[in-house]
Amino acid sequence: MSTTTSTLPEGFILPDFGDAPRTTRTVQTGEATAVTTTTSYDGPRKMAFICSKGNLDMAYPALIMGNAALGEGVEVHLFFTFWGLDIVNKKTNDKLRFTMAGNTAMHLDDLGRVRPGLEHASVPQALGNLPGMTGMATRMLKRQMAEQDIPTVPEFLDLLQASGAHLYACRLSFDMAKMLEADLHPGVEGVISAGDFIEIAQGAQIVFV
């Protein structure tokens, strides 16, 4: 069996399979010469957020942290997948809701006025399932966010876009939801696959929400 050594022809474009070393560093260590190759990323700081939830309270963490990162000069990428796609869908992103159901950290500040200490008590889970409770909880959260001058989700996306964030919709979720490109927030750069996102996220600190 013979092995053929092949060299890349001049100008040949090879896909990046990740196994070709990007930088080769030769380190002189005494008598021996050690060659260390590294494919690590050494560019500016990057952060990538994966937004997988479509509840109002789960939309905000990545938006707020992403915005903060942009303000720190960090390159920011946000990937919206599964229910998180609702955050960048113009038909849904102003209607995201917050539910008390399943949230044991739900407290009501006003109850402290009824009896001191009650503001720290967890609201009974059964209450969250009553008709109208999700609507009420959503209005309450929206009011509290507005009091802190936190933008609504669509406005937040505008702010992120203006600040230079890169937004992507997940191809699989997009196809599953039979979504239309016209419904995507204009800041979304593309509908990309998970693999595309992993490539884009090279060297980034990844935050999954």
């Binding site: 903060a68 802190q148 001058d149």
Partner: protein, 104 residues
């Protein structure tokens, strides 16, 4: 409290270098500070700084980029263009204010 001296001008700063006494600020100082980070301070650059000083004199805190947009009417994209990288921090520093603490 540390003190910075630039071109014969001294001013009190915190451990990160932000001015601690807003009254030690002047547009001349801002111009000299801007030169240190490679920014030539023209009217376009000065407008947001003036707003920040005026706004913080009322609220007591350094406005965030979001407030610059909603209250000051500045375009966030333009601010990133004028002060690349960390606009809120650069502008707070140049306006002689403390580092902004707001999350949004």
């Amino acid at each position: 409290m540390p003190t910075n001296t630039l071109n014969g001008r001294s001013f009190a700063v915190d451990e990160e270098g932000f001015l601690t006494d807003r009254d030690q600020w002047s547009e001349e100082l801002a111009t000299e500070l801007a030169a240190l980070i490679g920014i030539e301070l023209d009217e376009e650059h000065l407008a947001p700084l003036r707003f920040m000083r005026e706004d913080s004199s009322r609220t007591g805190v350094t406005p965030t980029l979001r407030r610059m947009q909603t209250v000051g009417g500045f375009d966030v994209r333009a601010l990133f263009g004028l002060y690349p990288g960390k606009p809120a921090k650069k502008m707070a520093w140049l306006a002689g204010l403390r580092k902004p603490v707001g999350c949004v």
